[in-house]
């Protein structure tokens, strides 16, 4: 890693966060499917957590949540709290399990969307918004999760493309390099006793 690499990831993440919020507000939020619009923010935060780890994920989640709250004139700190948890959780999943399955981003995206939707509703209830739990709210949460699941893989691929090259280590690339440069898989490795 050269000296310039230390700035690359934060710069790319800052640009990614800014563009995500602008596109979300200016376009995605204004297109509704069954009365619900998709929310890219938790998907992007989860993707960053999965790719970069828990600490960058949590910091990116905090910054992006703050930006969302400022840009949408919402109560500051609400989205930050939720996105910190999403970024950190996705990052810990990567660090502890190192999931290699191609559908992992889909499951993580669905979980992130569900957490953001339910969490936002709970926070609003606690802040005094009078909209008790109803079938409509549950339906909205379910449709939002479905939309989030549909968008999770493309969003993950896009985020991966943007931050690729500035990541300290990419689990997939690491694994692939081990096999393609002559390394043996654990199944092929000869035992120490022989």
């Amino acid at each position: 890693m050269n000296s310039g690499d230390g700035y690359q990831l934060p710069l790319r993440l800052a640009a990614l966060g800014f563009l995500t919020v602008v596109v979300q507000i200016a376009a995605v939020s204004q297109v509704t499917v069954f009365g619900v619009s998709a929310d890219l923010s938790p998907l992007v935060v989860a993707s960053v957590g999965l790719l970069a780890g828990s600490l960058p994920g949590a910091i990116f989640g905090f910054a992006m949540g703050m930006f969302v709250d400022v840009a949408l004139v919402q109560t500051l700190g609400v989205s930050s709290l939720l996105f910190i948890a999403i970024g950190y959780g996705a990052g810990r999943l990567r660090e502890l399990r190192d999931p290699a399955h191609g559908l992992t981003p889909l499951a993580v995206g669905a979980a992130a969307t569900a957490f953001a939707s339910v969490g936002f509703a709970l926070m609003q209830f606690m802040l005094g918004v009078r909209a008790p739990v109803s079938w409509l709210l549950l339906r909205q949460v379910v449709v939002t999760i479905l939309l989030g699941s549909l968008l999770a893989l493309p969003v993950y691929a896009l985020v991966r493309r943007i931050v690729r090259g500035s990541l300290p280590q990419d689990p997939r690339r690491r694994r692939r390099r081990a096999y393609t440069t002559g390394g043996l898989s654990p199944l092929q490795r000869p035992s120490a006793g022989r």
């Binding site: 602008v22 596109v23 979300q24 507000i25 200016a26 376009a27 995605v28 939020s29 204004q30 297109v31 509704t32 499917v33 009365g35 619009s37 929310d39 923010s41 828990s54 600490l55 949590a58 910091i59 905090f62 949540g65 703050m66 400022v70 840009a71 949408l72 004139v73 919402q74 109560t75 500051l76 700190g77 609400v78 930050s80 709290l81 910190i84 950190y88 939707s117 936002f120 509703a121 609003q124 802040l127 005094g128 918004v129 009078r130 909209a131 008790p132 739990v133 109803s134 079938w135 409509l136 709210l137 909205q140």
Partner: protein
């Protein structure tokens, strides 16, 4: 080394959570003119040109995705409009006679006709953003702000009906709290024979189903009756909305519900989910209207 990394990670996580909680508590407790709100207003003012540009640039994308839903909705709307047209044609003849009579009576009584919207400047603004979760916070962002004379509390109309009121203003942009927002309440009048007054609020858990409450027991209200603003509001402050702006149409008027709960169900006249433009009714200076600093965020 590993312990150090873990400690550092936990410390940063705890710091971020604590900062978020401090911001949340501070923001929730302070008034609309306080430092955090001012910072927010400044950032929004800086961002609004970017959002405006992005909104224009991404319009084709929105239109493409919106086309499918618009087509299905247009067919349903067409059928409904045909029925309404037939009903309205029957009423037009009666109304024309009433208008002639009304003009004659106004001439006799010398009624000042400068009420309603005539005293208001109308500023057309483009919708450049909206809140993602429209069930809990239903807001629009417009590309007009205090530089255009927009003030907190100004009424906003569009697509043939009331849209909401301005709840946050920056230099070049403003936010509209829609009539379907859970915090909204509009004093209205039903255009039935008696002209009954009521308070319109979003239904619990279903903001698109509005309720006109506090109606007199046994009021004679029918489906398709139009609801207009009454010109007063539920708070102690003076009205935010000029009188006689069309707001909604009665969708369900159950006599039993009217008798027990004193309410009917209405649906907004304006298509609040697909607005591209809206008109801000800017009250004339010195009109005597007291302006409320409506909470900018989800706070009280």
């Amino acid at each position: 080394m590993y312990d150090k990394q873990v400690r550092r990670r936990r410390a940063v996580l705890a710091l971020l959570v604590v900062v978020s909680l401090i911001l949340l508590t501070a923001y929730f407790g302070e008034s609309a003119g306080s430092p955090l709100h001012s910072v927010q207003r400044g950032v929004v003012a800086v961002l609004s040109p970017v959002q405006d540009g992005a909104s224009r640039a991404l319009k084709p994308v929105r239109d493409l995705f919106g086309w499918f839903g618009d087509t299905a909705r247009a067919k349903t709307e067409r059928d409904q409009l045909r029925k309404q047209r037939d009903a309205l044609l029957q009423k037009v003849a009666g109304y024309q006679a009433a208008m002639l009579e009304n003009a004659q009576l106004r001439g006799i009584l010398n009624v000042d006709d400068d009420s309603g919207l005539r005293g208001y400047a109308q500023h057309t603004a483009r919708v450049i953003g909206r809140s993602a979760n429209n069930l809990l916070l239903d807001r629009l962002q417009l590309d007009a702000g205090s530089g255009d004379g927009v003030r907190v509390g100004d009424a906003v109309i569009g697509d043939g009906g009331l849209v909401g009121h301005i709840s946050f203003v920056a230099a070049d942009t403003s936010f509209v709290t829609l009539i379907t927002d859970p915090s909204s309440a509009v004093s209205v009048r039903v255009l039935n024979a008696a002209g009954d007054f009521g308070l319109m609020k979003p239904s619990v858990g279903n903001p698109l189903d509005l309720l006109v409450q506090l109606l007199p027991r046994g009021a004679h209200i029918q489906q398709q009756d139009i609801v207009v603003t009454a010109g007063s509001r539920s708070s102690s402050l003076e009205s935010l909305y000029p009188p006689n702006i069309p707001v909604a149409r009665v969708t369900k008027a159950d006599p039993e519900e009217l008798d027990t709960d004193q309410q009917v169900h209405v649906s907004p006249l304006a298509d609040l989910r697909h607005l591209e433009f809206a008109q801000i009714l800017i009250a004339p200076n010195g009109s005597g209207q007291q302006r409320a600093q409506v909470g900018a965020a989800g706070g009280p």
